[in-house]
Structures are given as C-alpha cells and as structure tokens.
C-alpha cells in the first residue's frame, strides 16, 4: 500500500518536473549558458533545428516576462502642447500627467515602468515588454472623453460636411428617422449652462473614476458603465432633459475621434429619458470596452501631450549584466548542489534533485502566471532557493539524529519530517505574512518594486514548502526497501559510527519521542 502510493507520487513528481522543465527552458539557451559549456549555434537544416529551445509539437514558446531592468522595452517621449491654453500651469499639469501615466501603467498591468519629467515640457516613459504601437496606444493617449450631440445650424437643422468641405443641412426630424444620416452628421460637444451662468462642456473630467466598469447587458453583450461625480450628474441631467425631447443621439468622442462599436459604426444611442449620475455605453467590443474603461479610470492628461519619440531601449541594468547574472546563478545552483552532496551524501543527492525540481517548478510558475521578474524578484528567488534548501537541511539533520539513536529508515524519515515540519511551517508562514504585508503596502503606495518582491518571494516560499514536503519525502520513501540501509556511510560517517557503536537509544528518554511507528529494522 505504502509502496504503491510512493510510486504514484514519484511518477507525479517526475511528470510535473518534466513539464515544468519544458516550460522553463529558454527559447535561446545559448544566451544564458556559461561560455565554457559548448552549445550548438542555432541552425536549421530542413525541418530539424538544433541549438533552439526544446520544441513541443511546434507550440509557440512563451517568454519569461521580465522587467525593464532586466530586458528593456519601449521608451516614449511625450511633449506638452499648451499653445491652446496659455494660462495653464505647465509644471503642475506635467506632474499630474506623470500620475496619470503611472495609473495607466498599473491599469494595463505593465510592471516596473520608469516615468521621468525631461526638460521643461516633456515626459519620458519606459515600459517593459510591450510593443511600441501598444505603448503609444495605451500610454500615449490624452484620453479626453467628450459627450457629443448633433451640430445644429442657426435654423435648427443638422449640419453635414461633404467631402469637398462644403456644409449642407437637413431637418432634425429627417435625420432622427435615418440611421445612416445619424452616422454621417456633424457632432459638437454637449454644453450646458450651470448655476453660475457659465457654459460648460460635459467631458471625462466629470466622471467618477472609481465608478467605471465593464459588465454585460441583458442581451449578454459587453457594456461600459460610467458614473458621474456630483457636478457632472447635475450637468448630465440638465443635458439629457434637453436631448430626450425629442430623443436625439449622443455620441462619445475620445481624443476628438468618435468611439466606434463592434460593427464599426459610431456609437450614438438616442437619449430616451433624463439620466443623471450614471450611464452606459453599449455596442463596444469587449476589448475596446475594457481598454476604454482603463483609460477613463486612469484619467485624462490635463493638457494635450503628443508622442514625439518612440524607441526600443535595452535593460536598465545593462544586457550584459543580466546575462552574466543568470550564468552566475546557474553556477551557484550547481555549487550548492555539490555542497549538499558532499556534506549529506545520499540525502544530499536527493536534495540536489529536489532543488532541481524546485527551480524548474518555481520558474514555470513565474512563466505561466505570468509574474514580471525584476532584479527585486531575482533577489526574492535567491532567498527562496535558500529557504528551499533550508527545509531540506532541517529534515536531513533531524533524520540523521533519529538514525543515530537507532531508528529504522522509515521511522527516521517519518519522525524527521514530523519534527522538522513545525520549524518549516512557522518560518515559512512568517515569511508569507511579511510578503502579504509588503505586497499590500506596495499596492497602497504604488511601490511596484516592493510589490514585485513580495509576490515572487511568496510564490517561491509556497513552492518550496511543496517541494520539501512532497518531493524530498517521496524521494526518501522511494529508497525504503532498497539496499541503502546496509550502507549507512551513505548517510554520513557520524551516523555510521553512532550505529556501529553502543546502542544510542538510551541517550534520550524514550517517552519524550514522537509517537510515530517503528518500521522493521533490516
């Protein structure tokens, strides 16, 4: 029974490790292997390729998501254009724009960006791992939302601009009856006169940024919900009272371009009743709705900003430094494995195997989650490797103690684990508590560095507990029934000496020992 479950677990560990190893294997191994290890240069002869990553049925390999410090990314330079608004405080407006950029970066899940003010009127934004088109589209937009209504001429008719630039008009009732005309009509910002008699445009500035979300309407189609702030609600109810009689279309423009729906048409629903504090935009594709929601939640730039430069940059730590460090890390892991084998002998070999399993598993988790790995994440990983090794060391030290007092191998394994478990649990749980709090703080204060560190360390610790408890124990159990117990030197000379000499069981009161069963002594 016991042997069968051990064999099943062993199989599970082997399958899991193989899978993780395939996932983790870099698409360009040559880059990370130390120079003295020969690796074939990437070369394809016909359909057979060597020197690349391992190919599984031609599935596209996903790359590890690395931060700006390790891989580089896209650099955008944005320039403020205040020609239209000469009385704006440029300094303050740029500071606000930096906040907006950082909110957008967080909203789009791009970790570890660098935003700097450059010179008098520019911002430099570095974003890891996204294409330049994406960067311009998501970060570089002004994101000014406008509520638009039909442009009416002095005679109350709707204005149309022909291709040659001339304008014509059509009666409002004709336009309202014809969807095509609604599409082609001219729109102007919805304006209202507030209590002080000032004419105001209703824009994204009046949105309640905490109340913008995407869900599905009764028909199951995506819709963007938006809430207005107090002032915006007053203005909107005034405007919709006017526009709902007769029901006229209201369009939404983002940065002076009409927002179009999944069908490619301008979204311009009729205002059927007076609305005030919240509304919905229907007809968007799900992707567009989500992008729009993120942009609106992050707010608009207070002044128009133009993308003046887009370029690819490499890692802030320097590409060579990154490659050197990965190579050094590989060497370090091999050295640690060698140390474990020399010091703990047979259990050390198992620990080295467990470490291999641990590293493959953790990197696979990072890659699949995916977690953005930065230098902070690498530090957390190094620490978690140390903790994973520590768990094994704790188990082996306890196991050796039990072997020295004359326990059987099975008894020593089980007692060793039981004794080591409380220390592994308490030390790792306290590390996890630290991670949770660091993550929360990092989130509150926008310190993505602290957040990234906490996340990688927490994942590393969780995998290390799994690895110590399941993997090492399974490996040890797999030894039971083999002939190793006849070669006690495999567990260290001190164990062999203690067992060879007088029975040592009397060293400690038997009553104080744990209640695990004694296995058969070979």
């Amino acid at each position: 029974m016991r042997e069968r479950s051990t064999r099943l677990l062993l199989l599970f560990v082997v399958v899991l490790t193989t899978f993780s190893f395939f996932v983790t294997w870099p698409s360009n191994p040559k880059r990370y292997l130390p120079d003295f290890i020969p690796w074939p240069v990437e070369d394809c002869v016909g359909g057979i390729c060597i020197g690349k990553g391992i190919d599984i049925f031609g599935i596209e390999r996903r790359e590890m998501r690395l931060g700006l410090d390790l891989r580089g990314g896209t650099r955008l330079v944005l320039e403020a254009d205040i020609s239209g608004q000469p009385d704006v405080d440029l300094n303050e407006a740029l500071d606000t724009a930096v906040d907006v950029v950082e909110r957008r970066v967080n909203a789009f899940g791009v970790a570890e960006s660098i935003t700097e003010r450059v010179g008098a009127n520019r911002l430099s934004v570095q974003l890891p791992g996204i294409s330049s088109d994406e960067a311009v589209d998501k970060i570089g937009r002004t994101a000014q939302l406008q509520f638009m209504e039909l442009a009416l001429a002095a005679n109350g008719e709707v204005i149309f601009v022909q291709l040659d630039g001339t304008t014509t008009t059509q009666p409002l009732s004709t336009v309202l009856a014809n969807e095509l005309l609604i599409q082609e009509a001219q729109y102007v910002p919805v304006t209202v006169v507030d209590e002080q008699g000032v004419r105001l445009e209703i824009s994204g500035a009046f949105l309640d940024r905490g109340d913008i979300f995407v869900d599905r309407n009764a028909a199951g189609l995506p819709q963007l919900n938006f809430g207005m702030n107090d002032e915006g609600a007053k203005l909107l109810s005034q405007a919709t009272a006017r526009l709902s009689n007769p029901p006229q279309p209201m369009a939404f423009f983002l940065d002076n371009e009409p927002i179009r729906g999944a069908d490619g048409f301008v979204i311009a629903p009729r205002v059927r009743s007076q609305i005030s504090d919240n509304g919905v935009i229907d007809g968007l594709t799900l992707g567009d709705a989500q992008t729009l929601a993120k942009l609106l939640r992050s707010g608009a730039f207070p002044i128009p900003l133009r993308v003046v430069q887009v370029e690819d940059v490499d890692a802030t730590l320097g590409d060579q430094a990154v490659v050197d460090s990965v190579q050094a890390g590989l060497i370090a892991i091999v050295v640690v494995m060698a140390f474990m084998v020399l010091y703990y002998r047979l259990p050390g070999v198992l620990a080295a195997l467990a470490l291999f399993v641990y590293v493959s598993l953790t990197l696979a988790v990072f890659k699949l989650a995916p977690v953005t790995i930065t230098s902070a994440g690498m530090a957390a990983f190094v620490l978690s490797v140390g903790m994973a090794v520590d768990a094994n060391v704790l188990i082996f030290e306890r196991m050796k103690e039990e072997l020295r007092v004359g326990r059987s191998l099975v008894g020593a394994i089980d007692t060793g684990f039981a004794r080591a478990w409380t220390s592994i649990r308490d030390s790792n749980v306290s590390t996890l508590i630290t991670c949770v709090i660091l993550y929360w703080f990092g989130d509150q204060f926008g310190a993505s560095l602290v957040k990234g560190f906490a996340l990688t360390l927490a994942l590393g610790v969780l995998v290390s507990m799994f690895s110590a408890i399941t993997v090492t124990r399974t490996f040890l159990h797999a030894l039971v029934g083999t002939t190793v117990m006849r070669h006690l030197w495999l567990f260290g000379s001190d164990v062999a000496a203690a067992r060879g000499a007088a029975p040592a069981a009397g060293l400690r009161p038997a009553a104080a020992r744990g209640g695990t069963q004694e296995g058969a002594e070979p």
């Binding site: 580089g72 490499d314 430094a321 306290s430 630290t434 560190f453």
Partner: protein, 330 residues
C-alpha cells in the same frame, strides 16, 4: 556542548561594537547617500563612431565623477545615459573667454577615451545628441513606505509567533526577541551602507531597498528555526516532568541547530559569492549588502535573538541595573 548562553554578555558587546560605528555614521549629516534615482539629474543620448560597451562607458563616467549612471542601448548604436545633474551651460564669467560647461568638459573627456561623437545622421559632431534635465525617477517616499511596511510586518510576525508558541510559557518573548534580532540586522545593514557610502561612495537605490527587504525575510526565518527547537525542548522537559532552566534549554537548542544554521547560511553565501564574482557589475553593490545582511542574520539568530530570550528569563537587565554582572548570574 558549546556554552553559548554563558558568554552572552560578550556577544552583546560584540554586536554593539559592530553596530555603534554604523549608527554614528548614520546619525551624522548625510548618513545615507541617495542614488541618482531619487534626485533630479541629467539624461543625454550619445553615439560614438566606434561601438562602446555599456560597462566601459559606465566606468569612464564614474572616473569622471558621475558614478552610478544608468546606461541603456537604443537603436543605431545610440546610448541613453541618465546621470546626476550636469550643467549644460556654464555661467558667463565677468571677463575673459567663456569657460567650458560641465557638459562640454564631459564631451571632450569622453571623446579622448572613445573617439569622436556622431550626430544622428552619422556625421562627426563632437556633441551629445540630446541633453536635458530630468526629474527623479523614483519617489524618495519609497524608502519611508518600505520602512513602514517592515514595521507593520514586524507587528504581524510578533502576533503570529505569540500564537504559534502558545504552548510554552511567555510566548510573546519569543516574538519580541525575533523582532529585536531583526532590528539588529537592519541596523547592521544600514550602518554598513552608511560607512560604505562615506568610504566608497556607496549609494542607496531601489536595489538596496530590495536587499534590506530580503534580509528582513531571512532574519525572521532563521530566528524562528532556532526558537522552534527551544519550544520542542521546553515542551519535552515539561512532559518528562523536569524543571529545566530556559537558559539550558536554549543552549541545548543552539547546539542542536548549529549544523543546520551554518549549512543553510553556507548555501546562500555560496550563491551570493558566485553572483558577486561572476555576475553583472551593476548588481554587485546590492549583492554585497545582501551578504552582509545574511551573515548578520545568521549571527543574530544564534547570538542575539536566543540570548535576549535567555536574558529576559534570567532578568539580566534588572541585575545589571543593580550592579551585578550578568555573566556571573547566568
């Protein structure tokens, strides 16, 4: 069995000797030198006729007094450089020819080393391509926020340890001692950073904050492993009906966990040394800080956390105040 507990006064003195110079250095003006990430600086793009490596340019800039520059390759062999503040134009002197500005001096010095600078079309221009001042790229609040997070984490750990050590008398002392050792390690690291800053221009950057957080994780982890053994020994003695002094239980636990403590530290030290010797230059300072913290963390779990626990139990502090040496009392 090594008598760790009896020599605890010496361990305290040793820790004081390590921490005091660092603490003094910290409290003096300019205790910690802030890196360029936290301050305004200058960014420029340049392009040499011959390709120049990032490391070569970085060390050349350091020699010219602009240490810690961030250098990134961009398209067409251009290099994007972020340094501390460099004056673009010198103030016009009251008489005589205009002195070269800091920027011009730097352009000249770099061309002496690496050959001519090109403009964006590839012609020799002898000038940087773009040159402007930049705001801090990291808010200096990050240090304060990280410190607050560590304080909050310490409180949570104190609560957790108190709960999980509830089976032994006075569990809160275990948590408090672990947090005390944590404070010890943070002081060692901050002090070391301060002294390194005075001696070798070591600067605090976001990597340093990461290293400190790593040490927080390690320190508590290491202390708890020793305390777990103390808990086991105390409970075992109680179960056997023996009245064991906590000092003896702690000493036995320290001896039993010594092998594990050293082996775990050795594995992490091996990793760090490999990274320091072979890894990239840009993370070397960070790794050295990690190494210092790690050694301190191992030391403090044996020679500080456990000893504080014993001192508390033995009432060393009241005895000391009454004028009796703690050593003889132990």
């Amino acid at each position: 069995m090594i008598d760790f507990v009896g020599k605890r006064l010496w361990f305290y003195i040793f820790s004081m000797l390590i921490i005091l110079p660092g603490l003094v250095s910290l409290l003096l003006p300019d205790g910690l030198r802030q890196g360029i990430e936290f301050s305004s600086g200058t960014t420029f793009t340049l392009r040499f006729a011959e390709p120049v490596g990032e490391d070569a340019l970085r060390s050349a800039l350091a020699e010219l007094g602009h240490a810690g520059a961030r250098i990134q390759k961009t398209a067409e062999g251009r290099l994007l450089v972020r340094t501390d503040l460099i004056e673009g134009a010198s103030e016009a002197p009251p008489f005589g020819p205009a002195l070269p500005s800091e920027r011009e001096e730097l352009e000249t010095a770099l061309q002496e080393r690496f050959g001519p600078l090109l403009d964006s079309d590839g012609n020799v221009a002898n000038r940087f391509l773009e040159f402007s001042s930049v705001s801090p790229s990291v808010s200096s609040d990050i240090g304060r926020n990280a410190a607050l997070a560590v304080v909050a984490a310490s409180v949570a750990i104190l609560i957790y340890i108190t709960l999980t050590f509830a089976s032994v008398p006075k569990p809160i002392r275990y948590g408090a001692s672990a947090i005390f050792a944590l404070a010890h390690d943070i002081l060692v690291v901050l002090g070391a950073a301060s002294i390194l800053g005075r001696l070798f221009d070591f600067e605090i950057d976001t990597l340093f904050i990461t290293a400190t957080l790593t040490i927080v994780g390690f320190s508590v982890h290491d202390s708890i492993v020793v305390f777990d053994r103390v808990r086991e020994n105390v409970r075992r003695a109680e179960a056997a009906g023996l009245d064991v002094r906590l000092a003896d239980a702690v000493n036995a636990s320290l001896n039993q966990t010594l092998g594990r403590s050293l082996n775990t530290s050795i594995t992490v030290v091996l990793t760090l040394v490999a990274l320091i010797l072979l890894g990239g230059e840009t993370i070397r300072d960070f790794l050295i800080i990690m190494l210092i913290g790690l050694v301190s963390g191992t030391y403090s779990s044996i020679f500080v956390a456990s000893q504080i626990l014993v001192s508390w139990d033995e009432g060393d502090l009241p005895k000391l105040l009454r004028g009796e040496p703690a050593e003889e009392a132990a």
